[in-house]
């Protein structure tokens, strides 16, 4: 397993957002992470990235480090008014090699040019990101992922606010990464898209509802259970595993 969760609980102010998750991700897997809003999907990504510490249990990275993980944030997590050009942003994907102080070598510049051409962004190099549409911005972030060339890729709602043609292009890129043996986990809401393009699926609703082959996970019964569990937030809940109130 490239990545495994051992009785993992993540949360905020003692309330679990991901509760007792036991799950393993094989190297080379292409997994859709689905669930209702507030199901803990983005929280799980933060846990994998080490940005929040588990309330209980463990996350095991086997043979990789955090720097081998590439993360695509939701578009609203970025300050898109910042005065930086498309080329400069994509070049930051080479961080693992250039770090905070290194200069971009010709090989990096070639990687950036290749990534921009792969995402149909030729001619956008000098444009400020503030002038881009949502779909164009998402393609820029995919170009940065391409330059990062990481083993594990986490995509948080990669197609939100993106038109169908761009979605098609980005799905094509994800498929190419999968064929190269990269491991990909994507948070998605379009279940039809998941059925068509993602062979494996983890249905999360704070607690894991089901995981495995997508056709077996995305059933009406599982989805109904996910919805019910997601609404079970209790401000006055007792501590997990005891009858003791906080």
């Amino acid at each position: 397993m490239l990545l495994s969760f051992d009785n993992l609980t993540l949360g905020y102010e003692a309330h679990p957002a991901v509760h007792h998750l036991n799950y393993g991700v094989k190297a080379g897997a292409l997994i859709a992470l689905v669930g209702p809003n507030g199901a803990g999907k983005s929280t799980l990504f933060k846990g994998i990235m080490g940005q929040i510490q588990p309330l209980d249990g463990h996350i095991h990275l086997n043979g990789i480090e955090t720097k081998d993980i590439a993360y695509l944030p939701q578009l609203n997590q970025l300050d898109r008014s910042f005065p930086i050009t498309v080329q400069e942003l994509v070049a930051l994907g080479a961080w693992n090699e250039i770090g905070a102080f290194g200069h971009l070598k010709n090989s990096h510049k070639e990687q950036v040019a290749f990534a921009l051409s792969q995402l149909n962004l030729k001619g956008f190099e000098k444009r400020l990101i503030s002038s881009l549409s949502g779909g164009q911005m998402q393609r820029v972030l995919f170009a940065r992922l391409l330059v990062q060339n990481a083993q594990l890729i986490l995509l948080d709602e990669p197609f939100t606010g993106v038109d169908s043609r761009t979605t098609h292009d980005l799905l094509h890129m994800i498929s190419a990464w999968h064929k190269q043996g990269k491991t990909i986990i994507a948070v998605l809401h379009d279940l039809e898209q998941v059925r068509q393009h993602f062979p494996e699926c983890l249905l999360l609703s704070r607690e894991p509802i089901a995981f495995g082959a997508t056709s077996e996970v995305l059933t009406d019964a599982n989805w109904l259970r996910a919805r019910k569990l997601n609404e079970a937030f209790d401000e006055h809940a007792v501590y997990c595993g005891s009858h003791e109130a906080p």
Partner: protein, 288 residues
């Protein structure tokens, strides 16, 4: 023209020292202000300007009108407020502006209390409003040192700082430099405010940070041009402000900041990007 623009600087060494000091503040405070603006922390500069007051006051009462003592006191107080508010925010998930506000208010109250108990109104006015025309050599060395340290630090943390402003999650995913970028930037804010209070006072030195970058944003778009043009606006305003102060007999700090303020008003009215005139005048448009 010579008498109006050149002679006051050429004839008087106190004007030369004031100009050199103000140029030193301009080339370091203006770039720091650009990042403050881009991080939507412009009012943080104002809060920090209040926060250094008790340190400067303690320095004043220990060693009199000693620039070293007041500077060291100001740096200690400013760094303490910056670090405490940053730490409380990161450890308790409370927004940094509220913890910053809490600590700067405590610090300001402490400063006013110290000055009221031990000093006079004249001392307070010096700390608050400075005196650019009275800059001596030690003050110039200090300003030069702060300016050099600021530019070197900005060069070293530039890339992490850009990411900290624009895409902090990405920075945290590829490195552990996010806290370093954040806290070293806050230290630069403190250093420049402390440097500025000798010439302009604590309250006006924040204007040297914020107004040039706020004006520059109406003229240029890219980050490198923002940094360059904010420095040029700050230097030009210092020169004009010093001359205004000399010819009209106005206090130097307010004259410089008002010149910067005038530049800001001109910019938001007539600038090239998103100014009032650019939004309300029809322009030719491209075909694609």
């Amino acid at each position: 023209m010579f008498e109006l623009f050149i002679q006051p600087i050429a004839d008087f060494s106190f004007m030369q020292r004031a100009l050199i000091g103000c140029i030193a503040i301009s080339i370091s405070a203006a770039p720091v202000g650009v990042f403050l603006m881009l991080r939507r922390m412009s009012l943080t500069g104002d809060a920090m300007a209040h926060a250094i007051l008790p340190g400067a006051a303690v320095g004043f009462f220990i060693a009199g009108l000693s620039i070293e003592a007041m500077t060291i006191g100001g740096i200690i107080a400013g760094c303490a407020v910056a670090l405490l508010s940053g730490l409380v925010s990161r450890m308790t998930s409370v927004a940094e502006d509220s913890s910053m506000a809490a600590f700067y208010l405590i610090s300001l109250a402490l400063g006013v209390l110290i000055i009221s108990v031990r000093g006079s109104q004249v001392d307070l006015l010096h700390v608050l409003f400075g005196s650019a025309l009275a800059l001596h050599n030690e003050a110039l060395y200090l300003l030069g040192g702060i300016s050099t340290l600021t530019l070197v630090t900005l060069a070293l943390v530039f890339r992490p700082l850009v990411l900290e402003c624009m895409d902090r999650l990405f920075l945290q995913s590829v490195s552990h430099l996010s806290p370093l970028a954040h806290f070293s930037f806050l230290m630069l804010v403190v250093l420049n405010l402390v440097g500025g209070f000798n010439a302009l006072g604590t309250l006006l030195s924040v204007g040297m940070m914020i107004l040039p970058s706020a004006a520059a944003r109406y003229w240029v778009k890219s980050l490198d041009m923002l940094l360059l043009s904010s420095c040029l606006i700050a230097i030009a305003s210092c020169y004009i402000g010093l001359l205004l102060s000399y010819h009209a007999g106005w206090p130097t700090g307010p004259a410089i900041i008002l010149t910067l303020g005038f530049g800001y008003v001109i910019s938001f009215m007539f600038g090239l990007n998103n100014s009032l005139t650019s939004q309300y005048t029809k322009k030719k448009h491209l075909s694609a």
